[in-house]
Every structure is written in C-alpha cells, then in structure tokens.
Assembly symmetry: C2
DNA sequence: TTTGTCAATATGTTCTACATAAGAACTATT
DNA sequence: AATAGTTCTTATGTAGAACATATTGACAAA
C-alpha cells in the first residue's frame, strides 16, 4: 500500500486537553443537576478541587461556556446558568471570508431551501398589519435599479418575510446567512457582469400572499429565486 | 415611573473581560491577515506581549477558538488555522434539555421549513442509486408499528433524503435538529397519548420522487407532516 | 427609609515554574 | 545512503500563588 494513503486509513488521535475534559464534564454536570437559568454554580476553586485540576483549566472551560452564552459570571456573585442562546456561538464563525467554497455553496443552498419552505409557517402566522408593512417596503423600492439599492431592498423584503414567520430563531438564522448569500451573489456578479433577476417581483409575491395560497406563493418564490437556483447543480 | 419598569428602560452594561476582547482581536487578525488553513499563528507569548495581556488571557481566547474548531494546537509546533467547521461549535449547544420552550418550538418549525423547502435541491441532485437505497429503507419498515421502531425508520428515511440533497452542511444541520424534533414529538405523545401519522406514507413519497415533480413531492410532504404542522399556530 | 461605610469574597488578571511532546540537528548503525 | 537512535530546543499544557476589582451584605449614620 502506498504511503500516501496512510493518513486516510488511520485516524489521527485527537490530543484532548484537560480543558476539553472539564468542559464536557461541566456540560454533563449542568444537565444532570437539571439546573435552571439563574441557578448558581459552584465556585471556580470548588470546581477545581472537585475535578482535581488547576483553577486555570477550570477557567478555560468556563470561558468557553461563557462564550456560548450558557453561563454568565459576575464578581463575588459567582457563575450562574444563563438562558442559552443557540445562535450566539454560531454567529461568530459565520464569516464568508474564512469558509471554504463548498461550505459557502452549501449555506447558499440552505437559504434557498429555507425560503422555499417558509410558505406554510408564513400563512399560519401573518397578519394584515404585516402585509401592510410589507407593502410599504415594496412601495419604496420602485424605480431603484442600482445594485447597492437593490441589495438593500432585497434584504428588507426577505427579512420582513422571516419576521412575519413569528419564528425568532429562524429570523436570526437567516440573518446570519445573509452575508454568505450576498458574498456568493456578488462573486457571481463579478464573473457574469450582471446580477440576474427573476420574473416574479416582490410586488407579485406580495399579491400572492394576499390572494393566493401557500402553493401559489411557493411557485412564485421559486420563480423569483430562479436565477439563484441555477447555481444548484449536480 | 414605577421601579418595576426600570430594568426594561435602561439597558444593562455588559461586563466584557479581556478574554472577550482578545477573542475578537484574534478574529480580526485572522481575517485581516487572510490566513489559510494550515498557516501557523504567532506563539502565545508573542500574542500576549503584542496585546499587552497575560498569557492566561490569550490562552482563554485561544481555547475558545479551539473549541469552535477554528484553530488547532500542537506542542512545539504552535497553533495553526484549521479548516473551519461551522457546525462544530453549534452542535454543543443543541441540547433539548437546556433549551427553553420557545426556542424548541422555533427549531421544531425550522425543521419543518427545511423539509418543505428541500424538494428542488433534491430533484436537482438525486440519482437512481439514491432512489434504490431509499426504497430499501422503505421496504424494511413494513409492518413495524411500535413507536421506537417507527422513530428509527422515520430518522432513516428523512436522513436519507437530506443525504440525497448532496449538501453536507444541510445534512449535518438536520442531524443536529433531530434530538429537538424527537423531544418535541415525544412530549406531544405524552400529552395526547398517541403519535399521529399523516396520510401520505414514506412509500408514497418515494413514488412521488420517482414519477412526480417538485411540486407534487412538496404537497406529499406537507400531507406527510400535517400532524406536525398542527403545532404551528399563531 | 435612605444613604454611606466597610469588610468579606468570587471572579479577573498577572507572574513564575515546571511537565511534556514534537521538531531539529546530529550521530551511529546497517 | 538510508534508517534508526540520541540529545537539545521549544511552544503548549498545567499548576500554584498573589494581587486587583467589583459586588454583596451588614451595619452605622443621616
């Protein structure tokens, strides 16, 4: 067997540090004890002693959980379990500049999937007030054809759709995906010279929301996004 | 003005630690320098000196980035930029037991949205081989009506759908959502006694994939998921 | 009842020291 | 000449002590 393939046949041993271990231990501990947000955690020194590691190691582990928003710390008061924020830690890594091409394409498609799947939740939750606000957004974008403005309205319109879904997590999630989307589209524009536009406009989509059903809206959305769907290939 | 509302009127000041600052600084640094995976980072002591903080603080920040999979560290060799893995850090927080009800519901809906939006990508990528494998999964689940088995086949079937999408990120993402989905459904079952099933079966969906178009499949999927859609309310 | 003071204390930060693994350069072996 | 063994160096991993700082709680003063 060739030497070259060795690294593919044998898995590397991951060098786990104490901080890694303590981190998972703390996770288990938090779960097992069924802590609720606001509950106080043991002190750093107590944890260090109980786990038989230095306070430094405990602090590294706690620092990680802090970054993820799982715990909060205040002087004297100690550490308390926080309302966990899933997307908090996620948002930090979502940088188009440090992601590889394949992942960028994946995330691009992920947003298309979201957009197409949004219809049913949308129809279940949207209100007349929402539709009026959406109309205002649509009205503002007339006659604006320059690229930077187009992007701005694009974001405003689709962002509003997500907000209408009444799903905060979903909304924040698509917000995170936005930079990726913009990046991929702009890269595309660099090559092809011009950003393409689907036949179905935002106003059309608004009318579909008013008078049509989920299926109509989905068809409209598919048409609206059709230039982007061209990126989805085998 | 009542005291009660004070905390809502005045925003809390967030206590930022040095580790927080260093973390973002390192992020900016990595971006600005346009590091590529495999590139070596400055040594801990150099960073500490450059940022004028103790090595401990630098280590806490590095520890965070390490957790997110942005960097890797080896003794003597130093720290190197790793192939960034977006979902790596994400997966850790995705625990039904530590998430609040609203977020759980949001994530539940998010999965429904994904499932409904999947069709187009699916039709663009699926192969005959995929369909054959999907059929094998469907064949295995005949006559299995007990709950634990049902869940297992449910996962196998829908998991295969995501795999067929050819989108690794999407696949891993739905995998992360699975525990949440199971949890919500099982909680539902506790209350209502019985897990409901849609009229459209997995076999029906398979046939739709073979003979129908994206719209047909979406309609089928909507019907298949209809019991779950009942959870989506205003 | 409110305000000011002060001691106690848990986290935040720094510093020093040592352990350990991995690379580098060199030597010895066949 | 290529491989294996040796030693030295070095950057991360871990430990421990010390001090800074903010917050809490108790008590005193207005």
């Amino acid at each position: 067997m060739a030497i070259r393939s060795l690294s593919k046949d044998i898995a590397k041993i991951a060098p786990t540090t104490m901080a890694d271990v303590v981190e998972t231990r703390l996770r288990e501990y938090l779960k097992k004890k069924a802590f609720k947000p606001g509950d106080a955690l043991p002190k750093e020194l107590e944890l260090a002693e109980a786990l038989d590691v230095s306070r430094n190691v405990v602090r590294e582990a706690l620092s990680r959980l802090k970054m993820l928003g799982m715990i909060e710390s205040k002087k004297k008061r100690g550490m308390v379990l926080a309302e966990p924020d899933i997307l908090g830690g996620f948002e930090r890594v979502m940088d188009p500049l440090i992601l590889d091409q394949k992942t960028l394409q994946d995330l691009f498609e992920l947003r298309l999937v979201l957009e197409m799947g949004l219809a049913d939740v949308l129809y279940a939750r949207m209100t007349d007030k929402d539709l009026k606000e959406l109309e205002q957004i649509v009205n503002k974008e007339v006659n604006q054809v320059q690229l930077p403005f187009k992007v701005k309205f694009e974001i405003a319109f689709h962002g509003k759709l997500y907000r209408m879904s009444g799903n905060d997590t979903l909304m924040r999630f698509q917000n995170m995906l936005l930079p990726v989307f913009e990046y991929v589209v702009s890269e595309e524009a660099k090559l092809n010279g011009e950003a393409k536009v689907g036949k179905v406009t935002h106003r059309d989509l608004l009318e579909l929301l008013r008078k049509g059903g989920p299926e109509d809206f989905r068809q409209g959305m598919k048409e609206h996004l059709s230039p982007h769907f061209e990126r989805v290939r085998r």
